[in-house]
Every structure is written in structure tokens, then in C-alpha cells.
Symmetry: D2
Subunit: 136 residues, 4 copies
């Protein structure tokens, strides 16, 4: 499991005063980038130098407790399933002040050549990065 903790930012709440439901996917993406920190050059080199990315094909989110400005959230990321070209990332959002699970996200991605948006086999180092942090 790889963890990222980050504060809710001033502009991330909505008119109901809680973090907008769509922003959880932005948070998940940040956590995914962190997940690849031990790849050579990290997620940035994968995108910018190798032209490989992970567009989402499916996402599920369970929202369990709200996040507000002033909260900090710890996002715990694992690989829940690993296929030939696809993987499922699992994110647990834990509210820092009380340990309450604010949300859970399952994020199915497909290894993709960004220039063509065609799927491709997962490079060995990427597969190894996913495999190092299995769920449960």
C-alpha cells in the first residue's frame, strides 16, 4: 500500500460546503501518480518520455462521510486486480482528524499509447510496480 496525505484546498468545496463529489477522482489521480514513484522517473516520465498512460475505463466511488475545508485526507492505494493490459486500483480515503473512511474508489485503467489512444501491453516495470502493492 502506498499512502498520500493531502489537505482539502480552499477551492475544492462546493455550494453545499463539502468537497465536490467529482474532485475525489482528482484526488485518486494524485494518489495514482504517487503510486508510481518508484518507477524510474515516476509517472511523469511514463507520460512525457514513454508516451504511455492509463486512461480510465471504469470507476466506482462509495462516498461514506463528507470532507470539508480544514480536513486532511490520507489516501491508501493498492492494486486490486492485475490483467495483461488493465489493472484495478483501489483507494481508501481516510479522514485524518478521526480516521473515518470518507470514500472508497475502484479505478480500472488500461495501459495505453497516448499518441494513438490504443491499448498496449503493460511494460514489465509497470507491471512490477502494480504487483508490489496488492490489495489485502
Amino acid at each position: 500500500m502506498i499512502a498520500l496525505e493531502r489537505a482539502v484546498r480552499f477551492e475544492e468545496v462546493d455550494a453545499a460546503g463539502i468537497v465536490f463529489f467529482g474532485r475525489y477522482l482528482g484526488y485518486a489521480h494524485e494518489a495514482m501518480e504517487r503510486f508510481f514513484d518508484d518507477l524510474d522517473g515516476g509517472y511523469v516520465a511514463l507520460i512525457n518520455d514513454r508516451g504511455i498512460g492509463f486512461p480510465a475505463v471504469h470507476v466506482e466511488v462509495d462516498y461514506r462521510a463528507p470532507l470539508r475545508f480544514g480536513d486532511s485526507v490520507r489516501i491508501e492505494t493498492c492494486c486490486a486486480r492485475l490483467g495483461n493490459r488493465s489493472a484495478v486500483l483501489s483507494y481508501r480515503f481516510v479522514r485524518a482528524r478521526d480516521g473515518v473512511v470518507a470514500a472508497e474508489v475502484r479505478h480500472t485503467v488500461v495501459t495505453t499509447h497516448l499518441a494513438s489512444l490504443a491499448s498496449c501491453d503493460m511494460p514489465a516495470d509497470v507491471r512490477a510496480a502494480f504487483a508490489r502493492h496488492p490489495l489485502g
Copy 2:
């Protein structure tokens, strides 16, 4: 079914050049607001005057084809399930230039007093608004 068509905005793409996967939920929220246009005062009055909103408890998205800057997307919104306090909204994202389904979203919301974030019974006019546009 209630439809909203809107252009992809310049700032809505990501470093892969396609609409960021989290933005689809912002688009869905826009479509939900439109869905309530025939309520008195619309979604705005519900939030601002009556203090009632629809926080998400669950979301599922299937991403089927990318959207880019220059695309316009038609979002078709229906009510897929109607409970006592909850409802499931179903959104079909149709890319305007070719009719391809870019994404499908299922969005489970719970009727909520925004001041307390406690769930509440669905007001009759809100229930009627959901019921007027059942899924297929």
C-alpha cells in the same frame, strides 16, 4: 429524458489531451441541475431557499470513448431508480460530432438537509420531478 448539450472547455482536458476522467462528474452535476429545471425555482432554489440537496453516496462511470477540446457532448439524464430518500440518476454522454457514446454514469443520491447533512424524506415535488423522466 432531459438533455443538456455543452462544449468541452479549453481547460477541461488533461496532459493526455482528453477530458480528465474526474470532470465527467462535473458534467453529470450540470445535467442533474438541468434535470430539475421544471421544479419551482429549479435546483438553485432547492439548495439556496429550501436547504435541500443530493449528496452522492455512490457513483459508477463507464468510459467508452474520449472527449477532446472541440467536442460537444449531449448528456441524456433519466431517473433509473426511485426510493424513499434516494434516487439513481442515469446519464448517457453522447459525442455530438458522431453520436458515439462517450460515457455512461450512474449516480446514487440521497435527499439531505444541507445544514445538518442528515438524510430526509424526498419532498413530493422533487419525487414527481424524478418520476417524470424514468429510464427507458
Copy 3:
């Protein structure tokens, strides 16, 4: 003058309950895109087909009155100055419910080849589009 009216969206406010100050530039960009509607293919064709854009080199914003969820804002766009490669767009943000000026933006842009990010001469049709809507 070219006008765009748009509602404040649910996710555009901040933890103070007013539209986040950075979003005014997103609104201004929307108004700039509308400003070019009478170009062949509009702003989208300029970016996507001709590879020409208008990165900002300078921006000034005066914030005069807050915008909240439920407000709608009318953005009136003019060309305040026209150079060989640069132009200054002027935006007046008028709050729809009471006609109060919420903000004024001055936005200096430079005609740019997007592939190289090098400045370039302004094409004649672009210059004509700017010139059609002078300030004052």
C-alpha cells in the same frame, strides 16, 4: 461588444461561499471563445486546425462584488487595444440579478503558434475579429 451569460456552477464557489477568485479567468476565457464565434470555425478551429492560440502575458482583475451559487453573470467582452501580435481584451462581469459590476478583467494576449509557443503575426481574419468590437 460580445456578451456571454452563464450561471455560477455548484462547484465554482470556495470555502468562503463565493466564486473563487481564480475562476474569473476561466469565465473570461469562455467569454474570449465566444468573442471569436464569427471567425470561420470559431475559436476551436483556430486552436485545433490552425494551431494558433492566445496565451496570456498579463492579466489584471478588479473584484468589486461577490458572485454566489444561484447568481448568473453577464460577461461583456471588447477589444481594448490591438497591436501587431498582441491584443488587450476587456471583460465586464455584470451580476444578472441586480446589474452590479462584479468584476473587470483586462487580459493581454499574444498571437502564438501553439506547436512552438513562438509569437507570430496576427492573421487578418483574427485582427478583423478583434477590431469589430472595440472598447468604448
Copy 4:
């Protein structure tokens, strides 16, 4: 001077492939929050517990060099002017990979009771925080 370094995020670029010009103000706001880290409870307590904030009344941005996904930016924040109720924050955006100044922002804020949005005198500890980091 107080510095914040942060990476450009995947979703912060626009259809021209560079950080959207409006996002610089979000970056500046992050840097302003960091600026108040040595207040008791930081910026969050100021907003959430004391109900005091700093809405912008004026902003000027000079954009000097683009930022892209993969870049990291160091934002150096100072207080350029200190009035009774207002202050001018000055931010220098330095691109981490080459030390190039990507942007400079001047941000005039007014001390404000958030409940009423009326301006108010600057509390002594806030004044001291501004005064500790003068420009130049």
C-alpha cells in the same frame, strides 16, 4: 519570504498543453495559505474558527514562461504592502528545472468577516504574520 514547491498536476494543463492561466491564482492561493502557517492553527483556523478571510480586490499577473505537466514550481511569497485592512501579497513563480521565472503575481486582499463579507481591521497576529516577510 515563504516558499511553497508543488508539481503541476495532470489535470491542470489546457488544450494548448500548458498550465491554464487561471490556475496560477489557485497556485497563489495555496502559497498564501502556506504563508500563514506560523499563525496559531494556520489559515484554516482563521477561516473556520475566527471567520476571517482575505477576499481579493485586485490581482495582476505577468506570465513570463509556460509551465507544463512534469514541471514543478517554487512559489516565493512576500508581503509587498501592508495597510490597515488590506495587504498586497507578491508571488514569484520559479520553474524548478531551470530557475526561470514563470510568472509574477500581485494580489491585493482585504481583511473581511466572512459571515457578512464586510471588511474589518486586521487582527494583530495577522498583521504580524504579514510584516514578518516583507518584499525585498
